[in-house]
Point group: C2
Chain length 527, copies 2
């Protein structure tokens, strides 16, 4: 043990071993809860060591697979390594790893895409089977045996509570000054014993700064010194800046109308470059004294904390570029007071999101003209990443906003389509759709009224005429005119893309696809 060990509890020091020794303890067939949320705070050595062992086992003809449960996405050292050796029987609740994605879409790996707020309780309820092992990265172990959480919390509390055996990775790359930033709520119960969660402001602290674990469950401690794999954000492109501009204009309009206070309401922002661009926009915008209640804190929010635009931020993970992380640690004493990291069941809790009145801003793959949103499936069958927390926030938000550029793949795909090829957020849960073209405010509109504003405000000019033509014909010939569709054409845009690599750009394109002339063969006269 190095003299600078972060394992301060003397009884636990005897359990320090190598990653290979620790990985050798995990048998095939078990479910393993691992730390990690958006590339932060995942174990960095044991999963890869386990992957090597799985590879050896598989090469020797002995099938070795485990269930891998996490907070959300991790990194190549975890998801990539285990997927590469075909070591994952069942993955949940969210992933974004290219090798995982390939295996899932090839039908070689099972994957359950779960609302992030539902995971911990589902495990407590026993709905997902037994959690056998936990592999958790922490920033240190105190003399008393408490665990100092790392750069994410995710489901770590639940994994530590529910697993029979625990392996800890104590990562000295994680800054010791993180201590005190976390707020682990230990008041959750199973029904019928649940009580109100006593949080009324985004920055309320309702728990404890440490994770607890029964020391008799700890079978191995691995000391590491390896960084989170967060990369820099790309500078906002033109489309992202335009999307951000539309959202800011919308917020200003809502403030003028008296539907939002001047300091807005707690912001939630999804993962990725567009979300980051919106934060950049807000940082240069007219609003002050903002707060955030979100699941992941990216560079954009840190900039807002630094500038003072944001007074505080609550999340379950820090997903920061190396430069932003340097800034965080330079001024950690200030940030530690203003950032609260919580378990994801609290950061994403429906009770709290509704109470706080969160402004939810999430990316999507596509929306349809009636306001249904697909966040997960490319062309209806291939998983991209997963629903993440978008449903937790959108369903319970004060206003739920979904955003995407109006086209993808160099303009060959329209992200506004007649009917989404998979639905993650229904017409009942989507209030605002934004593309670089503009913003469609769907509140108080019937499906047909929505179709008009979605096409007019959000569709790319290349696809507008074909969308209008579809809507016009659907509204004339559909069996029902509440949500008019021509079912034989509703998914034809996706089919056309699968066949030709392009969605239909003009009505002639679209007409040439159809059998039976200018109107549907199933067309019905109005009844």
């Amino acid at each position: 043990m190095a003299s600078d060990s972060r394992v301060l509890n003397s009884a636990l020091r005897s359990r320090i071993m190598s990653a290979e020794e620790a990985a050798a303890l995990i048998p095939s067939g078990v479910n393993v809860g691992m730390s990690g949320f958006t590339g932060a705070g995942y174990p960095k050595q044991v999963p890869a060591a386990l992957a090597k062992r799985i590879m050896d086992s598989n090469l020797n003809g002995k099938k070795f697979k485990i269930g891998v449960w996490t907070g959300a996405s991790t990194a190549p050292e975890l998801d990539g390594a285990l997927a590469m050796v075909d070591g994952v029987e069942m993955r949940l609740p969210y992933q974004s790893d290219p090798i995982c994605r390939k295996r899932i879409n090839a039908g070689e790996m099972e994957y359950i895409d779960i609302h992030l707020s539902h995971v911990a309780q589902s495990v407590w309820f026993g709905f997902l089977g037994k959690l056998d092992w936990a592999v958790i990265e922490v920033a240190g172990i105190t003399e008393e045996g408490h665990l100092i959480p790392a750069s994410s919390i995710g489901n770590n509390k639940t994994w530590l509570d529910c697993a029979d055996k625990v392996i800890l990775e104590v990562n000295s790359w994680q800054h010791p000054a993180l201590e005190g930033m976390h707020d682990i709520y230990y008041g959750t119960q199973l029904p019928p014993h649940r009580k109100p969660i006593p949080l009324v402001r985004p920055d309320d602290r309702i728990g404890e700064p440490y994770l607890k674990v029964d020391p008799s469950k700890i079978v191995a401690i691995v000391e590491t010194d390896l960084k989170d794999r967060n990369s820099a954000f790309t500078p906002p492109d033109q489309a992202s800046k335009q999307i951000a501009g539309h959202i800011l204009e919308f917020f200003e309009h809502e403030v003028r109308k008296g539907r939002l206070p001047r300091e807005l309401l707690p912001l939630q922002s999804g993962v990725g470059n567009i979300a980051n661009a919106v934060m950049n926009g807000l940082n240069e915008g007219p609003f002050d004294n903002l707060t955030a209640y979100t699941e992941v804190l990216q560079d954009g929010m840190l900039d807002m904390l630094r500038s003072g635009k944001l007074t505080s931020a609550s999340s379950t993970a820090l997903s920061l570029s190396p430069a932003a992380l340097a800034e965080l640690y330079t001024n950690i004493d200030d940030y530690r007071r203003r950032i609260v990291l919580r378990p994801q069941e609290i950061s994403n809790h429906p009770e709290l999101i509704r109470r706080l009145g969160v402004l939810a801003m999430n990316g999507m793959i596509e929306a349809d003209i009636y306001g249904n949103v697909n966040s997960t499936h490319v062309m209806g069958t291939q998983i991209m990443n997963g629903i993440g927390g978008s449903g937790d926030f959108a369903r319970n938000a004060y206003i739920s906003i979904f955003m995407t550029p109006s086209t993808a793949k160099g303009g060959d795909i329209s992200c506004i389509v007649p009917m989404v090829s998979h639905t993650d957020h229904t017409e009942h849960d989507v209030q605002v759709i934004v593309t670089e073209q503009g913003l469609a405010d769907l509140r108080g509109l019937s499906p047909k009224q929505r179709a008009k504003v979605v096409i007019e405000n959000c569709a790319h000019p290349d696809f507008k005429p074909v969308l209008k033509d579809y809507y016009r014909r659907a509204n004339s010939y559909a069996a029902g005119r509440h949500t008019p569709h021509l079912l034989e054409e509703a998914l034809s845009w996706h089919l056309r893309y699968l066949r030709s690599g392009k969605m239909p750009r003009d009505t002639a394109d679209e007409l040439s696809e159809r059998v039976g002339g200018a109107t549907s063969p199933l067309a019905r006269a109005p009844q």
Copy 2:
């Protein structure tokens, strides 16, 4: 004024007038919040009087329309009358009236189908426009001017608070002994001022027994003596009994596995005959000391209260047959202690449904093999009724169950389809699907695993081979194998029904529909 008037407040007596006089006060173009939830507690004279006035106006060439906002469904005297004369510009949040439905599906009436828990707050937020008028049925007015609610509460608190002008129908048919059964929570706030709702047991009383209204807003009081239009339930048919049997068996299994307590968790049950049959089943089942936290109390639950199986029930409406209503009033002193009627924002509140761990049981139109549920649209375009509270409960339930007979229209429609034609509850929110054929427990299953159990356990034998054939080919030829679909066929069952009046019953039927041979023309070899 009759000597038995229920208008005890002397200052308000001067505002008593006829329904025609009251209806004459309401101008065209306003939004009117009306009472009424599942055929209970709706105003019974003013809407019809208004409809006659609208008819006269329209016949004279002066267009007269209003926005009609309610709790949920009402009755012919309200929805039917106003729709008949084309007097409704916008209807929300739920309806089940045949004339309304016809107008909506003909494209003649706008309709917004909203989660019932979202309505009140959306009005407070100003998202649906200004609420101008309220027309509310009550059981009486006390000397102090408090309103004794009738057989439903719905959104009445919000309508009374937000409207500029109020018309009350004081219905002496509503039993005076209802006084004291209601619990109106006046603690809601707008964000950022919201506090936890202090309810931890289904029968907790957290509010007041009366509705309050600023007396200066009351412009008319109409005295009526007319019954709610609730009809008797049909005796449970074979399919309903089988569905109930599968659910009971499932609950027993969950209790044995330790995933449900012996007294289960609070029951929520949707509207209609199947839901009622499940309650009948529970009434004869092995579970005691049950509770209910639901939006509507039907005969089945009253039977359970009478037998003692159910210790208490919370809802927002009494939707009872005449016989059940007679029983209620015969033993009202007992029932008044055990039944709590609440505003629908509380009966359906996500915070409370999640906290209590409700067992949600709701009907549906169709489910697909991957566990997506359509509750609202026939063949994707025609509204049936609306989502009601099914989403409020399903999303936040301990276990969310959706049920339907496996076929409809005498066996011509399969209620298990390759892809739902409209999605109201996504794969992320549906845990159990039940038909008379059996029960599919989808918890912890990936999409492909779900497809197998849904087809095997729930599909009708007539449609099983075609569903298996679809799934087999989708899993071989789809672009992605996470949720395998053949997009050109995914909605072909609905199309076939629209064309021929039958969904495909065997693979030959289905093959004859397809162009391009035995596999999809877009079929791709595995990559």
